[in-house]
């Protein structure tokens, strides 16, 4: 069974596509820097084709039906791609919603003298496109969420590097909030690296930790204890003045942990503990080395 709208679309496809493109482009916010015209044209045509096919199947209500699968796929693809490229939700929504206007124009022209049919068809198209735009938003958000999840993973991965600063000395700059999950990663990385490198001293630098509350302190103490169990010594560096005062007021006891204000002084302490001496060469011996 073919309905009136699908016939109109079939008849005026080229025109509808053209006017749809026009509506999309009149949107001032359209980012032509993100997508070229040909791509937009291709996507629009593909979508219109699958829309027409779905309509001709006779199903006009349920966008979750099998007939609508190609159009869901196309829309899903487009919205996920737009989400990744950094389009705004408005731009993505306009893509589908502007088709409404072109379809209404075409229907109006065709059924000018038959308001009853016009009304019925417009309601149908309206409902259908509304469901499709909701679907677009859902997938768009899903696309964004994927981006966020990926970034979270990346942050977790890059934010806990273990650096070998000297033979037997490891440094761990901790940046960001130290919650239970992060502590777990930090501890695992550190302990693994201690075994792998046979290091005996680890410096935990907390310059990049914005707030040290009792939970963070507890996590630090746990990490230090675990390191000690492995036979290595831990130095905590990067304790800023305001953090030192806060720790004292909170009543956290870090007295049996070696702490230093800066990474440099922690490194100096580590050298001392290892019996390494670093000193400036005088000029003559430098030249003789060359």
């Amino acid at each position: 069974m073919k309905n009136a709208t699908s016939k109109v679309i079939r008849k005026n496809k080229a025109q509808i596509l053209e006017s749809w493109m026009k509506y999309q482009l009149t949107d001032e916010d359209l980012r032509d820097d993100l997508m070229n015209m040909e791509e937009l044209h291709g996507q629009s045509e593909q979508l219109l084709d699958s829309f027409l096919n779905a309509l001709e199947s006779g199903n006009m209500n349920d966008i979750n039906a099998r007939e609508f699968e190609p159009i869901r796929d196309t829309l899903g693809e487009i919205s996920v791609m737009r989400a990744r490229r950094g389009y705004s939700p408005r731009e993505t929504g306009t893509f589908v919603l502007s088709l409404k206007q072109s379809l209404f124009d075409a229907l109006e022209k065709e059924f000018k003298s038959q308001p009853e049919i016009l009304y019925k068809e417009i309601i149908l198209v309206n409902n259908l496109l509304d469901s499709l735009s909701i679907f677009t938003f859902e997938t768009f958000i899903k696309g964004r969420e994927e981006v966020i999840l990926r970034q979270t993973d990346e942050i977790n991965e890059i934010s806990t590097p273990v650096i070998r600063v000297w033979e037997g000395i490891l440094a761990l700059p901790i940046i960001g909030t130290l919650d239970s999950a992060r502590t777990q990663i930090v501890m695992e990385n550190l302990l693994q690296e201690i075994v792998a490198t046979g290091s005996s001293i680890a410096i935990l630098d907390i310059s990049g930790v914005p707030a040290v509350d009792s939970l963070v302190a507890q996590h630090l103490i746990k990490t230090v204890s675990a390191t000690r169990l492995m036979g290595a010594e831990c130095i905590i560096s990067g304790i800023r003045a305001e953090i030192a005062q806060t720790i004292v007021h909170l009543g956290i006891d870090l007295s049996n942990i070696k702490t230093k204000a800066s990474l440099a002084s922690a490194l100096r302490l580590a050298y001392d503990m290892m019996g390494v001496e670093v000193k400036k060469m005088d000029r003559r011996s430098k030249i003789s080395l060359l």
């Binding site: 707030a211 040290v212 939970l215 302190a217 005062q245 806060t246 909170l250 009543g251 956290i252």
Partner: protein, 137 residues
């Protein structure tokens, strides 16, 4: 006492802690609190939201800027509908914890801020109010 601004923020997940701390920091910087006092206030706030999340599954925080006797300050009210605290005196002791933590959250917070008050009804919930003045006195 005059209330200058008022705002509230729900705390439901661990992920809400960092945005909440940033809000407190914004308020503290707005009234020109020094870095040490800012850090004290933020740490205290952080302790209390963590308690709220851990023991009461979250709650609500009221953030206010207030002025009294010519000095401005930040007042935070932490409200939860958790199990409540049976013995507040015991909970305010250093090293006491029902949750395997250091047991410094409540007593430490009290030492960090200028004013601290706690009300709790077992089975109904706990409300903690802290105030920290701009110059920390």
């Amino acid at each position: 006492m005059i209330q200058i601004s008022k705002d509230s923020m729900p705390i439901l997940r661990e992920q809400d802690v960092v945005p909440f701390r940033n809000r407190v920091r914004e308020l503290a910087t707005k009234i020109g609190m020094s870095l040490v006092n800012q850090t004290k206030l933020i740490t205290a706030a952080s302790e209390l939201v963590r308690n709220m999340l851990k023991y009461a599954n979250g709650g609500k925080v009221l953030l206010e800027l207030i002025s009294r006797n010519g000095q401005t300050g930040v007042r935070l009210t932490f409200e939860d509908q958790g199990p409540g605290i049976k013995d507040i005196d015991l909970a305010m002791k250093d090293g006491f914890s029902t949750g395997k933590s250091l047991g410094l959250g409540l007593p430490g917070t009290k030492r960090l801020v200028n004013e601290f008050s706690i009300k709790s009804v077992p089975g109904e919930g706990t409300t903690v109010t802290i105030t920290h003045w701009k110059n920390g006195r």
